[in-house]
């Protein structure tokens, strides 16, 4: 929903390009129609948003088409393809409409297309890496950009003085400096688009990318200062104006950063209080970040810097505060918006280039600019790196420098800025536009195409993705502490010292203030990693289904099943896990018979949602113990209401449950042995099953399973028990409590009494024969009845397999009351924690 809503914010203006009109088109029919029209064509009312949507659709479809072929996308960066597509589309539009339309408008670009990209990159910026390299990033961003701007501008002016630029390009030194300032800045969008596909090592990436983000302040200042100087006329520029220019650099950059941090603070603080309105959490993130952008833009500060800092600053607290689902929503919405914006930018760049009316070509200027930006970029990088390496622990080597020089891509920011120039003040604007387009196309297409082979050829260290391990996380923290301590001992207040200081300050004050208490309590990076690892385990565990369970149980010492079984043979383990499944299957199958009047009575008794949690639990245990279905149904977890999910699926899967049951029996034949009792309904016809000697072994396990479930802690069926008691959505909490109590009063007797349970199989035989379970002890009935109610629904494995992820989703909503249930046994703590832990989130 949000995903749809947010784009709409900028849709009306986004791609509309030439038709800058927002939604209020004057085209709504002024004169009333003569009569009642059956059919009315209202194109004008919807034109603007419609076109925008269409453009986005075209861009997205193009993306899909590009990615149909792995070969193409592995060779050609997407940005190149999009620009080329834009060129083609622009040509078509030009041919059809006879005028260039749908171009990249600076207003649209800066207000709507750029913010999502910057927010995305700021929010997901690896902050540790960023601050580790902050010195280098700032140097390249500030010094490098200034250097590029001035040298390029001056060199172009020199070129003109030397007569290599045609005299029709009327521009003075200031004009060239202005042009140099806008053409010199490395563009975050282009860098991101290309570097994301190249996968150079993270240090290199963060330096180039960080530079492209932070140099915005310098670019903005230079551009504005030069622009106003040009408008004033060089004669009127006073010395104080230069000073003001320098001062404005600090104002714009620090001001922008400050705005971003203020909004980050507000955002973090706001999300602290959204506990009851989870649904707006993602929205808040976007709104406040966008507000930061607009505020900075309004105060003519560096808006890019503001959003970057906002994203960078708020992430830690926001992620801690918002729910798991919201986190996912934020992540995907952000990525979707950014990718959408990026796509449109490149496509519109291509389209805009077709419009020759804006162009004025001068080969000298174009070639000179191309040469100078490449040359001075490389020279600047080498010089700065030489200085930086005196101070860097890990020096940037030659290869890094080559990639950094070559990776200085120019992009849409430069294009938008050059379009914004005032032709009356800068007569050479058309030449500048043409040159900028060529530069952008050259860097994006030529450099973008060649950077990958270059990186390969130079054997640049690639980034290697490895999953975080607890050991790494823990030791990394140890190292940090050690280094901070050593700096203390040495008496040097260096980077580690300040980082340590900051972390303590953050822990003491900021986190206390900005995180909700429940989140703050469990906020710890080591714990986070541990939690994530467990989640991953759980997911893969469920993904792989129950077949793996047995093997997992074997490999993971902490698995309950292993501890519970005295015998270590594989078959026994299998049986063990199988029996757990059977227990529940049994129940369900019994239900399936549905003939039992008692069952019906019981069903009505338990009706009204009471049984549902229990039902879910059954499903859960089942999936785990037997072979859960592959996670094809995971999508169901998206359904908001748990109850609904269950029910809808009940219907759907009622037929499939039959076959699945078959599967169970076939695959884990032990399971069938255990489930003899339950299968009475289904197997009623085939008596052979019942008398089989297998009946005996399972029954004890049944009892075993049952007991721990009852007590809520037992080394054996730990995971069964933990879910049973804990995986309850919050809205069902009360109902669940009731049901628990009612269940305990009703159903527990059979469960607790292991002997009756063990005796069940034989009795069920009788039951089957007599067809009336009347002779059952009254206390046994609930156990049958209960399942019956469930079974009527015809439970399905698929549904239950969806349960586990769902459970994870739900947990954040729950209050924290779980840990009391933790089975204290250290042996199985692993799995227990895994399921319990979520409740605290």
């Amino acid at each position: 929903m949000l995903r749809a809503a947010l784009p709409l914010l900028w849709l009306p203006l986004a791609g509309a390009g030439a038709t800058e009109e927002p939604t209020q088109e004057p085209g709504s029919p002024g004169e009333p129609p003569p009569g009642l029209a059956l059919f009315r064509w209202q194109w004008h009312e919807v034109e603007a948003p419609y076109l925008v949507a269409l453009w986005i659709l075209v861009a997205s479809l193009a993306k899909i088409v590009f990615h149909l072929s792995r070969k193409v996308t592995s060779l050609v960066p997407e940005s190149c393809l999009l620009i080329l597509l834009g060129l083609v589309l622009g040509g078509i539009v030009l041919a059809v409409a006879k005028k260039a339309e749908y171009q990249l408008e600076p207003g649209t670009f800066f207000l709507f297309l750029l913010p999502p990209i910057v927010l995305d990159s700021g929010y997901f910026m690896p902050s540790r890496l960023f601050f580790d390299n902050l010195g280098a990033i700032l140097t390249y961003a500030v010094v490098g950009t200034l250097w590029n701007a001035f040298t390029t501008g001056a060199a172009l002016w020199g070129l003109q003085q030397a007569g290599l630029v045609a005299p029709r390009v009327q521009a003075g030194l200031l004009d060239f400096l202005l042009f140099g300032s806008l053409i010199s800045a490395v563009d975050p969008v282009a860098v991101l688009a290309v570097f994301e596909e190249v996968h150079v090592n993270e240090t290199l990436f963060i330096i180039v990318f960080g530079e492209s983000l932070l140099n915005d302040a310098v670019t903005v200042v230079l551009y504005k200062v030069c622009n106003s100087f040009v408008e004033m006329g060089s004669a009127n520029v006073q010395a104080t104006d230069y000073l003001k220019g320098v001062a404005s650099l600090f104002v714009v950059s620090l001001g922008g950063a400050a705005v971003g941090l203020v909004f980050a603070f507000l955002l973090a603080l706001t999300t602290r209080f959204t506990k009851r309105v989870r649904i707006i959490e993602p929205l808040l993130v976007f709104l406040l970040a966008y507000a930061a952008y607009l505020t900075a833009e309004m105060a003519s500060l560096s808006a890019i810097l503001a959003v970057t800092m906002c994203g960078l600053g708020c992430k830690k607290y926001v992620e801690a505060n918002i729910s798991h689902k919201s986190r996912t929503a934020v992540k995907y919405t952000m990525k979707t918006l950014a990718s959408c914006a990026e796509t449109i930018i490149f496509m519109l760049l291509g389209i805009s280039a077709v419009d020759s009316s804006k162009w004025a070509w001068d080969s000298g200027l174009v070639l000179g600019t191309l040469f100078f930006i490449l040359f001075f970029r490389a020279l600047g990088v080498v010089l700065q790196t030489w200085v930086l390496n005196q101070f860097r622990l890990v020096p940037l080597d030659k290869i890094d420098q080559v990639v950094m020089s070559y990776g200085g891509l120019r992009g849409a920011v430069a294009f938008a800025l050059v379009i914004l120039l005032d032709r009356t003040k800068i007569p050479a604007k058309d030449y500048f536009v043409a040159t900028t387009i060529v530069v952008v196309f050259f860097t994006v297409i030529v450099q973008g195409l060649t950077i990958k082979p270059l990186v390969k050829w130079l054997k640049v260290k690639r980034s290697e993705h490895h999953k975080p391990t607890l050991n790494q996380e823990l030791h990394e923290h140890t190292f940090d502490h050690i280094l901070a301590a050593v700096e203390d001992v040495v008496g040097h207040h260096g980077y580690h010292y300040w980082r340590d200081r900051w972390e303590q300050f953050d822990k003491k004050y900021l986190s206390q203030l900005l995180m909700r208490r429940s989140a703050y309590r469990i906020r710890d990076q080591i714990w986070d990693v541990y939690y994530r690892l467990n989640i991953r385990d759980a997911i893969s565990f469920v993904d792989q289904g129950g077949h793996v369970l047995s093997s997992t149980g074997l490999t993971l010492p902490s698995m309950p099943s292993r501890n519970s079984v005295a015998e270590t043979s594989v078959t026994n383990l299998l049986r063990e896990s199988g029996s757990g499944a059977c227990l529940d299957l049994q129940v369900i199958d019994t239900v399936r018979s549905g003939r039992d009047r008692e069952d019906a009575v019981m069903h009505h008794l338990l009706c009204g949602g009471l049984y549902k949690p229990r039902y879910r639990k059954d499903g859960m245990a089942n999936t785990e113990a037997t072979n859960g279905k592959p996670p094809r149904d995971l999508g169901f977890q998206d359904t908001a209401a748990v109850i609904l999910t269950v029910e809808s699926e009940e219907e759907e899967d009622s037929d499939s449950s039959e076959t699945e049951k078959e599967d169970d029996e076939g695959i884990i034949f032990v399971a069938r042995a255990t489930s003899e009792v339950l299968q009475e309904g289904k197997v009623s016809g085939s008596l052979e099953v019942c008398p089989s000697p297998r009946i005996i072994p399972p029954s004890p396990t049944c009892a075993e399973k049952e007991l721990p479930w009852k007590s809520g802690q037992g080394d054996l069926a730990v995971y069964v028990s933990s879910e049973t008691t804990k995986i309850v959505p919050v809205d069902m909490q009360t109902g669940w409590n009731q049901s628990i109590s009612s269940l305990e009063s009703l159903a527990s007797p059979p469960c607790t009494q292991a002997p009756p349970m063990t005796r069940l199989p034989p009795r069920s035989l009788v039951t089957e024969e007599s067809q009336a379970p009347l002779n059952l002890p009254s206390d046994l009935r609930p156990s049958f009845a209960f399942p019956t109610s469930l079974a009527k629904a015809g439970r399905s494995h698929s549904e239950s397999s969806a349960d586990i992820p769902q459970q994870q989703e739900l947990q954040p909503l729950m209050g924290h009351e779980d840990h009391t249930h933790l089975s204290p046994g250290t042996a199985n703590s692993h799995w227990c924690i895994q399921f319990n832990r979520g409740g605290r989130l």
Partner: protein
Amino acid sequence: MGSRSSHAARIPDVDSIQRETGFSQASLLRLYHRFRALDRNKKGYLSRVDLQEIGALAVNPLGDRIIDSFFPDGSLQLDFPGFVRVLAHFRPVDVEDHGNRDPQEPEPLNSRMNKLRFAFQLYDLDRDGKISRHEMLQVLRLMVGVQVTEEQLESIADRTVQEADEDGDGAVSFLEFTKSLEKMNIEQKMSIRILK
């Protein structure tokens, strides 16, 4: 700064220290000044208390252990060579060091292995060459906030040990410790730039 060398010469055994630790004279001089400053009553050595006086160390969760590592084998006095020897672990690794190093010589103190060993002995309190589950738990208790319950800590410790433990003895040996960190750039992570 022409007097620097004469200052450095005042440090006793400066040459042998320099050879052992690889510090530059400037760094040694700086460390010597620091050493003297930490030595409160000019006794010529540092005691535990001297280090404990450093304010920031008191709040460092591993502060005590790091101080301990300055006093090997239960000694109570830390002289300047010992002081520098510990700090030498954190000297950045020179690229050229690798090339012309004599294989006969012992590994420099700032080698990857020695850096790791330094970290390892912070965990391994009983010096048996293994981080037991109990030792892991103790470190975790120091590092993870008090908010996490004991049971949770235990399960983290369990998992951490399990993750690194390859021979199944329920403890992390130094070899396993280095293995678990083989992807990490220790040379970079355990170096301080000014300690050239």
